[in-house]
Symmetry: C2
Subunit: 350 residues, 2 copies
């Protein structure tokens, strides 16, 4: 029996997280998961009050079974440094090499593409390596702010982390009906990172003869997502490309209001990961009741799955599917429902 | 009176370039540009025959007024190294800092988005810095192929090249009706490159008070292109992000069959640049007459514009518009016309 750390966050974060906690209470009643929750205070307000202090991230990993992370981001903090510190800190210090971002269409009307005629045509998962690439913050500046200013940004890729992301992607592809995996990179313009990703992809492919593999350059992949999303099943990419492609892909199935994510260390059996909506804190609509709680509920559902709580996971998934096929929806999906009405509906549907 | 270097290239390159040369003959007759053409042999076949030899790129810059570059790419050459050598060599050795990639919808039916209801909603230009970022090939590998393999890929960004791209973008934004410029970067995850782009963007913005500026992270931009393409006028980005976003954006206006590009040194007044379709060599349809020659014709038209041959440029633009509003189109745009029929139609429309 473990405890979930809940970080409500900024902007729409807290109001959305309130719905997740309502859903969790219902799940608890129905399935008795034994998961307690504890709220951690990290938010823009907290950082503005306490200064830019270190957070003991390893302690979070040791203390809790998982983190439910609300949206972080506040216009008062340049480039949302506090968000990067928490999100990046959790991902990197806890070695959450795998970031899963499923994109699945439930209602044709939620897809903006004219040529998508079947909800099944948009059903993909982006597996993003989650700890390396340019996100390591390695680089430097020469003559900063002066005429000869040179900036260097270093993407670091290790076989260790690449393998962990690739293995998760191959396993996922194996477990899905289409058994298909697409590697996305820019090996034609990246002579160092390219060969590492390509060679490890080929090496692992040999152990997964049942998975159909292919490869796209990232520019072509950005295009193919629009041209023919049905061609994608599982997509694996480095941190930066995974970030871009998963945001783009989310638009094909209703947008960020229904884009969940799971970040985890595939080898850790006591800390199950960080589960967060892909969307940001949307300060412009905070407090208006317009925020869609589904992305966070779906992230919570990914947590249940990762913890092996299959019955609870399936119940939440069914509830989300039911809500998404109905018309009590928030404005981002063309409805007029409020955040808490959608949350209540999920609770009733479980 | 200068001479154009014509590189027909691989796959569909030569058949598409043949149409450009037909169009050029008509333009020559009508407007007397005085531009001669000379074919250069660089192609996959040439490289396979001659080996991976150096090409004297500076000599091309000194000898010709511009390069009309056909698609390069051949499955026999891994990662199309010959293409990178020519394309990358021209862009970097001739300091073609600016890569323009206009995306303009002419016919509603060519936009795959349900919510685009007016052709004017997709009319943007991506200005891509064209010589730096990860494309410099700087980086390295530790323990390659062994368990502790580490790859580092370095994106290099200099104020000199960034300023040239930004200036071109501001000038372009000023010249267009909406006067709008969006900087796309990933400053929240790139502590070295981010501040350079951001600070130079702000510095230049002060000299362009008539240009409305905004900023998006690259992941958000990839999403916004689908959600609301009408918000974009001119978009400026580093080499890698410009590559990804321009390919994605091209899908909103008919795809790569109508995606042209111009690469140039904004300060060079004798060599006007390299003009090439964004598409590749499409070996699968080479020789079938299915290739769309419009992207290359539109690239040729960008060359006329860059050379100040305004009347000729406007005539070709009008002809392209007319063809795109009609129904004699290649299969990529839903038609059944052949490459040469579309070329002939352009010639007649000029
Ligand atoms: C906040 C930002 C650094 C982050 C990222 O790029 O990883 C976000 O966009 C995400 O995808 O979770
Ligand atoms: C061939 C490749 C290296 C090139 C690039 O990425 O620049 C191409 O995709 C392009 O956009 O012209």
């Amino acid at each position: 029996m473990s405890t979930l750390a809940v970080i409500p966050g900024d902007g729409i974060g807290p109001e959305v997280m309130a719905e997740v906690l309502k859903v969790h209470a219902v799940v608890e009643d129905a399935f008795g998961t034994g998961l307690k929750t504890e709220v951690l205070p990290y938010s823009a307000d907290w950082f503005l009050e306490h200064g830019d202090v270190e957070i003991d991230i390893p302690a979070i990993g040791r203390t809790y079974g998982a983190v439910l992370l609300g949206a972080l981001g506040d216009p008062r903090i340049p480039d949302n440094r506090h968000a990067i510190r928490i999100i990046g800190g959790l991902r990197q210090q806890l070695e959450l090499s795998v970031n899963l971002r499923p994109v699945r269409l439930r209602t044709l009307a939620h897809c903006p593409l004219k040529h998508v005629r079947d909800v099944g045509d948009v059903d993909l998962v982006v597996v993003r390596e989650n700890t390396e690439d340019v996100y390591v913050g390695v680089g430097g500046t020469v003559r900063g702010g002066r005429p000869g200013h040179v900036a260097m940004e270093v993407g670091v890729h290790t076989r260790w982390a690449v393998d962990r992301a690739l293995e998760a992607a191959f396993e996922l592809a194996r477990s899905r009906p289409r058994h298909r995996l697409t590697l996305v990179d820019k090996s034609n313009a990246m002579p160092s990172a390219g060969p590492l990703w390509q060679s490890r992809f080929r090496a692992l492919a040999a152990s997964y003869p049942d998975v159909a593999c292919d490869h796209l350059y990232v520019d072509a992949a950005a295009m193919e997502l629009i041209r023919n999303p049905a061609r994608f099943d599982v997509v694996v990419a480095s941190n930066l490309f995974g970030d871009i492609l998963s945001d783009e892909a989310s638009m094909l199935a209703g947008g960020l209001g229904v884009a969940p994510s799971a970040s985890y260390d595939p080898e850790d059996t006591s800390f199950f990961g960080v589960f967060e909506a892909v969307h940001g804190s949307a300060p412009d609509i905070a407090g208006t009741g317009r925020a869609n709680p589904l992305a966070s509920v779906m992230s919570y559902s990914l947590m249940l799955d990762r913890m092996g709580l299959r019955a609870a996971h399936r119940a939440v998934e069914r509830a989300v599917d039911e809500v998404l096929r109905g018309d009590l929806l928030t404005p981002d999906l063309g409805g007029t429902a409020r955040t808490d009405e959608v949350g209540d509906l999920i609770c009733r549907a479980i």
